[in-house]
C-alpha cells in the first residue's frame, strides 16, 4: 500500500538530492506493516466512527483524488463486504497510479525546466511565458506515456463498471433491510 506513495513522495522530496532511491520491490515490505493506510484516521479514533463512509475534506496533495474511508457497519452482509473490498481495492489502485503519474510529471517537468535553464545559461525562467518549450515537454510526456495511459484507461473503465452490479445488489439488500425488516 505504501509502496507508490512512498516512492512518489520520495521522488518529490529527493529529486535533486543524491539520496537512495528505494527500489519498488524493496518497499513491498511496507504493505505488510501498513494497514488502514488510506483511512486518514489515527488509531485512537473509536470504532463508532468506522461504521460510515467518510470522505477526505480535500483532494490528496499528490494524487488529487478524494479518498474515501469505507466504513464497516456491524450488520455487514457478505455482498456488502465484497463491494466494500472491491471499492477499497479500486481506490487503492487508482490512488497509487495517480501518485506515481503526478510525481513523475512534476519531477520530469522540473528536470526539463532545469535543463532549459542551463541551456539558457541563467536567464530568468517563468513557466507561464515559455509555453512553446513547455508544450514540447508536454508532448513528449504524453507520447512517452501513451501506452501506459491507455492501459490505465481501459483497466479503469473495466474495474469501475464492474462495481455496478455488486453495488446494485447491495442497494437491494439495504432497501430490504430498511423497509421489510421492520415488520
Amino acid at each position: 500500500m505504501l509502496r507508490s506513495p512512498n516512492v512518489a513522495l520520495n521522488l518529490l522530496a529527493k529529486s535533486l538530492t543524491a539520496s537512495t532511491q528505494w527500489p519498488i520491490a524493496g518497499t513491498a515490505v511496507l504493505s505488510v506493516h501498513c494497514h488502514r493506510c488510506l483511512s486518514g484516521k489515527p488509531a485512537t479514533s473509536d470504532d463508532s466512527n468506522d461504521h460510515v463512509d467518510r470522505v477526505s475534506p480535500t483532494g490528496h496533495p499528490v494524487s488529487n483524488l478524494r479518498l474515501i474511508h469505507f466504513g464497516r457497519p456491524a450488520n455487514e452482509t457478505p455482498p456488502e463486504r465484497e463491494l466494500r473490498l472491491k471499492r477499497s481495492a479500486l481506490q487503492k489502485w487508482n490512488h497509487e497510479y495517480w501518485l506515481k503519474n503526478n510525481a513523475d510529471f512534476q519531477r520530469q517537468k522540473s528536470d526539463y525546466i532545469e535543463r532549459e535553464l542551463k541551456a539558457l545559461r541563467g536567464q530568468e525562467f517563468k513557466s507561464s511565458l515559455s509555453y512553446d518549450e513547455l508544450s514540447l515537454f508536454y508532448k513528449s510526456f504524453l507520447d512517452s506515456n501513451h501506452k501506459k495511459h491507455m492501459n490505465y484507461n481501459l483497466e479503469w473503465y473495466r474495474r469501475h463498471t464492474s462495481l455496478l452490479w455488486p453495488a446494485f445488489r447491495v442497494l437491494l439488500i439495504r432497501l430490504r433491510r430498511k423497509f421489510w425488516t421492520r415488520n
Binding site: L2, P5, N6, L9, N10, L12, A13, K14, S15, L16, T17, S19, T27, V29, L30, H33, C34, H35, R36, L38, G40, K41, P42, A43, T44, S45, V52, R54, V55, S56, P57, T58, G59, H60, P61, V62, N64, L65, R66, H69, G71, W98, N101, N102, F105, S110, Y131, S135, Y138, K139, L142, N145, H149, M150, Y152, N153, Y157, H160, L164, F168
Partner: protein, 440 residues
C-alpha cells in the same frame, strides 16, 4: 489558510525516518524523525533536507511544533499513515493522549505556521474526514443538475429549438416541440452523467472539474448511472414519439459522446472533431423533428455548430493545457498548439462562409447582413488569438463565442425564409392584376 499535512511513515534502513509533506500556500515541507516514548512514537519535526525546499517554518516554529501536543506528531503505531489537517482554529489539547514530558505551553501565537500570513493555527482535525451527507430533495436537485451539466444542456436544447423552428414548414405543434426539447434535454443530461461517471479520476485532476458531485463522493456511481439510465431512456422514448429519425440521432449522439468522445480524450487529438460532431447533431435533430428528413438546410445548420465548436473549445483548452498534460488528456492545445490556433481561425472563417450560403436557402439576405459584424468579430478575435496565444486572448475568444452562438441563432430565426408568404404575395399581386384587368 489551510495547511494540509500528510504523514507517510515508512520503513527505512534505520526505521526512524518519516516524512511530512505539508501542502500550503506556498509550499512547505518538513522531515520528521520518530523516536519512541513509552507506548507511542513521537515525531519530531526537523528542517527539510531538500535542496529546493521552500518551507516557511522557521526554526522557532519547528521548535514550537515539536513542543506541542498536536496529534500530527503522535503516532501510536509508527507504521500507520496519517492525514491531518490544519486550519485556522486553535488546537484543543487531547486529554487522553499520552502527554509529552515537556510542559504544554502552547499559545495562539506559538501555533502559527506562517507568521507572515494571516492567523493559522495547528489543529487536531482527525475528525475532519466527514461522513457523506444524506441526500435530501434540495441537494438531490443540485447534484442532478450538476450531473446533467445544466448550462450545457440548456445550450443544447436551445440549438435544438432553433433547428426545429428553422425546419418548420407547418404551424407549430406544441406537443412535438415539447417532446423534442424535453427529450433532447434528458438525453443530453444522460450523456453528461455517463461522462462524469467514467471520468472521476480525471476530473479530480483539474481545478475546473474537481467539484463535481461524483468526484467529491457525494453520490455513488450507481446512483449516477441510474440517473443516466432513467433520463436517457425517458429522453429517447420522447424522441421516438416525435419520430424515429430524431430518436436515432439522439441515441447515436449519446453513444458518440459517452462512449467514443470520452475515451478518445486521452487517446488522440481527433477527439475535438468528434466532439464538434456531437455539438452539431442537436440542431439537426430539431430539424428532423419538424421535417422528418435531413436536407441541405439541416446540414448547413449542423455545419455552423460544428465549426463553432473549434474557436469555443480551443480557446477554453488553451488555459488548461498544463492540467490537461498532467492528467493525460490529448488535446491540440497540449500537443499541437499551432494546429490548435490555426483550426480556431479556420473554422471562424468557415462560419462566415456557411452563414453566407445559408442566405440562399434557409434564411433571407438580411441574415447575411446582420450576422456579418458578429461573425467578423469572431474571426478578428480568433486572429488575435492566433497571433498572440495567451491567457487573455483565449479567454476573450471563449467568452465571446458564448455570446456569438446565441446571437447567430437568434438572427437566423428572425431572418427565416418563408416560402409560403412569398407565394401568397405573388397570388395577391396576380389577383389584383386580374381585378384591375377585369375592371378596365
Amino acid at each position: 489558510m489551510a495547511v494540509y499535512a500528510h504523514i507517510n511513515t515508512c520503513l527505512t534502513s534505520d526505521k526512524n525516518y518519516s516524512e511530512i509533506v505539508c501542502k500550503s500556500q506556498p509550499k512547505a515541507s518538513l522531515h520528521a524523525i520518530h523516536y519512541e516514548t513509552n507506548d507511542c512514537v513521537r515525531l519530531m519535526a526537523t528542517n527539510a533536507k531538500r535542496e529546493d525546499n521552500h518551507h516557511l517554518l522557521s526554526t522557532q516554529q519547528i521548535h514550537q511544533l515539536n513542543a506541542s501536543n498536536n496529534l500530527l506528531l503522535f503516532s501510536p503505531k509508527w507504521d500507520q499513515m496519517y492525514d491531518v489537517f490544519y486550519n485556522s482554529q486553535q488546537i484543543s489539547p487531547q486529554p487522553d493522549h499520552p502527554v509529552d514530558d515537556k510542559p504544554n505551553h502552547r499559545t495562539d501565537d506559538e501555533m502559527k505556521v506562517n507568521a507572515d500570513h494571516k492567523d493559522t493555527h495547528l489543529l487536531d482535525t482527525s475528525h475532519e474526514w466527514k461522513p457523506i451527507d444524506k441526500l435530501n430533495a434540495q441537494t438531490l436537485v443540485k447534484y442532478y443538475t450538476q450531473l446533467a451539466k445544466l448550462r450545457l444542456t440548456g445550450l443544447v436544447v436551445l440549438t435544438t429549438l432553433s433547428g426545429y423552428y428553422m425546419g418548420l414548414q407547418t404551424p407549430i405543434d406544441p406537443l412535438i416541440l415539447t417532446a423534442t426539447l424535453v427529450g433532447t434535454g434528458l438525453t443530453s443530461g444522460s450523456a453528461t452523467a455517463i461522462n462524469q461517471y467514467l471520468e472521476i479520476p480525471f476530473d479530480s485532476q483539474m481545478k475546473r472539474t474537481q467539484n463535481r458531485p461524483l468526484v467529491l463522493g457525494r453520490i455513488s456511481g450507481l446512483h449516477a448511472m441510474g440517473f443516466a439510465g432513467v433520463s436517457g431512456l425517458t429522453g429517447l422514448a420522447l424522441l421516438s414519439y416525435v419520430n424515429p429519425l430524431t430518436a436515432v440521432l439522439g441515441a447515436s449522439n449519446l453513444i458518440l459522446y459517452s462512449f467514443i468522445y470520452t475515451p478518445m480524450k486521452r487517446a488522440h487529438i481527433a477527439n475535438t472533431w468528434v466532439g464538434a460532431v456531437v455539438g452539431a447533431i442537436p440542431p439537426i435533430m430539431g430539424f428532423t423533428a419538424a421535417t422528418n428528413c435531413i436536407d441541405m438546410s439541416a446540414v448547413l445548420m449542423g455545419l455552423v455548430l460544428y465549426s463553432w465548436q473549434f474557436p469555443h473549445f480551443n480557446a477554453l483548452s488553451w488555459n488548461m493545457r498544463h492540467e490537461y498534460a498532467r492528467a493525460g488528456f490529448r488535446m491540440m492545445s497540449v500537443t499541437e498548439p499551432k494546429l490548435c490556433i490555426n483550426t480556431a481561425l479556420r473554422h471562424s472563417c468557415l462560419i462566415l462562409l456557411y452563414s453566407t450560403i445559408m442566405c440562399t436557402t434557409l434564411t433571407t439576405w438580411t441574415f447575411g447582413i446582420d450576422s456579418l459584424p458578429i461573425n467578423l468579430y469572431l474571426i478578428y478575435l480568433s486572429y488575435k488569438f492566433r497571433a498572440n496565444p495567451d491567457a487573455k486572448s483565449s479567454r476573450k475568444l471563449f467568452f465571446y463565442s458564448l455570446i456569438h452562438l446565441p446571437a447567430i441563432i437568434l438572427l437566423m430565426c428572425i431572418s427565416k425564409r418563408r416560402p409560403q408568404s412569398s407565394a401568397n404575395n405573388v397570388n395577391t399581386v396576380n389577383d389584383s392584376k386580374q381585378s384591375v384587368a377585369g375592371n378596365s
